[in-house]
Symmetry: D2
Subunit: 312 residues, 4 copies
């Protein structure tokens, strides 16, 4: 297969990331390659060894996946073309025949722990937790007899010869992980009417109100933010950049004008792509504020042209 | 002479408006026609009987000349092509031979009164003031012997056979009147680098914060206001429109974008023209905020195009 | 009568101001004294010759009554204790027996003219208008035979031996004049739940955005403005102060906090009083934004105290 | 020793957290107890087993220490009383006698890796990295012979019988870690003039502009933010709370008023303490905006009281 038809993902096999990747129709015709880390998965794309990569970017319990945010903010540019939302539900995987009472040690990825903490306290209050490198790795360690049980996706049971003793475990209602399909820079995904635009914005100087100014560039054009996270720039305590997801597509006039405004006031802006919002139909998007539709932008531009020409 | 070469002005002859009009080089080749009122002066332009009209629009002591503001805001559209700033300094005009001690009655236009009040209290504490229809009319009434003295422009003395007993009278330092040269809608005056753009803006609904939103359309593009006045719309107590002068020319990108933003959120916007600021050199304008020059707008538009094309 | 029981008003007798004053119950027990001008009416209060004065402050067709605005903004402080809203409806007063066809000349106060312009154009297109010093003065001039008809309040007919030929004349729907009852500074009128607070605010320096900052002091506390007008400070073209009416009473916590904020950022603030809104019941006021009731202010202050004391 | 004189910290011994704790003078008289995790360290305080706990909260390379942020935002309330800023500089610890050329495997805490990545690429391009549970743990594993070298604080060498082969390693200039000393809720640390106030703020509803409103509560009182981070609330993708550090002390009037404003508009606010800014003298703080000193607040409150009493 050509590199372009290869997709990397944050491995190993049997993790939620692989499950998320397999929800994409095109995954059926791609070579799916697990990688040991987010940087490794994305570098394969940067180097031309893969056409795309699926990595987790946000977890409603643990917050931003900082490795992904930082990889996208720095280094050779990449772009997001798709997002996948996967509800979080763990299974407790055990070797066949193990009873719940027999579970004295449990393992799983560190980010899994806070998501099953309450369940553990209630059902296995005496079990001892030790972290594994990944949920799949935890399953492997159970297979090897190192632990009695592992929290992982139910889909991982078969791979490791385990059985799901309990399924549907998740402390928080509505817990989900968001993954993004990343590729080299190119033309953004087509506009669907329920889109999202991702950016990284650097604040110019430390002047109070700089973040407020930045938010006003969105607000004055009626562009809503659905996520904003600060990330350190690595230039010392107190220096941040902001990772932002805004509603709308770069080809929407209001979004384009906001982006140009940010480009003018921020010392650095990185456009990370416009792509369809997972799980949101066009009819479910936030109603546009008056004066922010493409038609209204076009009408205003016509009016301005008439004013300049003396025909208003 | 053709109507196009005729300029009307707020008369009668011998007023400050005529003096302001004569500061324009082109006045030498125009037929200058005094009119009885601002509406009459402007209607002559609307009807094609004159090519332009000079009317007072702002007086630093008395505030906006409301007749002018309201005429420009309503009725058939007109545009401003030039402004003239005239320092206010009154002369006390008397019949030849009259001494200051002999002045018992004085007259002048009602707007002159607050501008000479302190001078009168000091030099003629017992003189009685009565208002005249205009400063020039006051001079005429002195000529006819009805009053002892009139406050008017020194230039009016000759017309009425009077002599200026005292000159340079003005209570407030820096007092000035601003006049505008108005014509039918056409291409705005050329950009000079020290320009002003005049608008009338109607607020959409009564929601609190509507004025704040309107001001933010200017602020976010770094466009400064030099004047803002509310005027009643005539639709009842509490309904206003705003007469606004902003720094910059409609062909400046930051001004154009602000105008389009206002056009989108206001139910009605009237563009009254872009024209050179009287008495301000390009080097004296407010420094532009970062990110608001035409070059920065152009660079941001290029960048957006590259993002949309996948070449950023 | 003692000076305290004397009310001055903008005369002469028979004007709308007198009619407005007579709508106040207490007017029945006061000596009502007409004065020749707004400054004269207010100076009588300042000098202790009168306990109060009723003057027009806003006219929904002509806008702010600038003499009143400027008198309240400067000179020895005064305060507003009450407002009166009077629907505008002119009567055409004639000498008994005059027919409409016989009316060739009409008079009235200059501010009356734009409010009857359309009616005149329709019913008396050929009649000639000349301005009088007041509506009442116009009626007197008709009585003396100088004009055929005067626009004035219907109530003026009897005073001048005239009869109302046509009544209820007003071009604009909902036209009204707002009057204020002014006194020397004292404790504001009691809170009613439908109150208004009047202020004059000076902008600190000419920095762009100064007006925006001023409006944000109101907005952040959820205080709505019902009127804002710029007035020249008399210090030269481009220097303004703002005459503002806000919803709410100075004893409302949100209003008090906004006032203190303005006091801190403006070089000068003049508090002109809190008083009941004419024609507005408490149930008709703009709903308060969340977090701006007195209870919510009190709860937040309690919480802050607990935080400071280590008991939160 | 009594529990009150016991301080826990994020262990094990020999980590930067211990080094940070030992910079506090009072540490000399306290029992210092390493704990296996941030939650464990803080729960000891909650349970009364310790009087305080030092935990890392921010790392200028890796960003917020999410475990600390989330522990402070939820569960039984805690407060911050002090912060410690520790420059990041790693030593490469080896068994005595090991030469740089002999280092084939290196270990350290995962957060150390990005901070020494460039140094590794330059000086040990072929060495293989494996993560340890902590920097101290990595040192122990080197002692046991599992790895050739560990990145850790130079101070950890003695504890594990190692020697620092290279010191002062840090990729980013100005890299530092910020630690906080946490205790049960009580009276905040005394005001020093260079203070910081920490808060967690929940946004009320998802309405666009909610974050902007929140920032304006600070901005309008001239309170500067030095850090803002979004954290998921655990209630589903797209629901965040904000962890915020503001300049100033809760007893500063501008800070107190901003806090009350936030309390009123946010469904939930958690006050995490006011404490001295590490490494910042009062003379180095951001100059206060006009109108935001305690004196100006007091003067404005006096003025308001005079207005309410009719003595303004």
């Amino acid at each position: 297969m050509s590199p372009a038809s290869r997709y990397t993902y944050l491995g190993p096999e049997g993790t939620f990331t692989e499950a998320a990747l397999r929800t994409l129709p095109e995954a059926a015709t791609r070579e799916l390659v697990p990688m040991v880390s987010v940087p490794a998965a994305l570098d394969a794309v940067r180097n031309g060894e893969a056409g795309g990569s699926l990595v987790p970017i946000e977890n409603s319990v643990e917050g931003g996946v900082t490795a992904t945010l930082d990889e996208l903010a720095t280094g050779r540019p990449l772009m997001i073309y798709r997002e996948v939302l996967l509800p979080i539900a763990f299974a407790l995987l055990v070797r066949p025949g193990t009873a719940l009472e027999a579970v004295k040690t449990v393992t799983g990825h560190p980010v899994a722990q806070p998501q099953v903490r309450r369940w553990l306290a209630e059902h296995l209050p005496d079990a001892q937790w030790e972290s594994a490198a990944s949920n799949a790795d935890g399953a492997r360690l159970v297979q090897e007899g190192r632990y009695d049980a592992a929290f992982a996706g139910e889909f991982a049971a078969a791979t490791y010869g385990l059985e799901p003793l309990v399924t549907g475990i998740h402390d928080a209602e509505n817990a989900a992980t968001r993954f993004v399909l990343v590729g080299r820079p190119g033309r953004p995904a087509a506009r669907t009417g329920a889109d999202k635009t991702s950016l990284v914005l650097w604040l110019g100087d430390d002047h109070p109100g700089a973040l407020l100014e930045l938010l006003q560039e969105f607000a004055v054009r009626g562009v809503n933010l659905v996520r904003i996270e600060s990330r350190p720039t690595g230039e010392g305590i107190g220096r941040y950049c902001f990772s932002v997801d805004a509603e709308g597509h770069i080809s929407d006039r209001r979004v384009g004008e906001a982006l140009m405004g940010l480009r003018r006031i921020c010392p650095k802006v990185r456009f990370l792509g416009s792509y369809p919002r997972a799980g949101v139909e066009p009819s479910q998007t936030t109603p546009l504020r008056r004066g922010t539709t493409d038609d209204e932008f076009a009408e205003a531009a016509d009016w301005l042209a008439r004013c300049v020409d003396g025909r208003a």
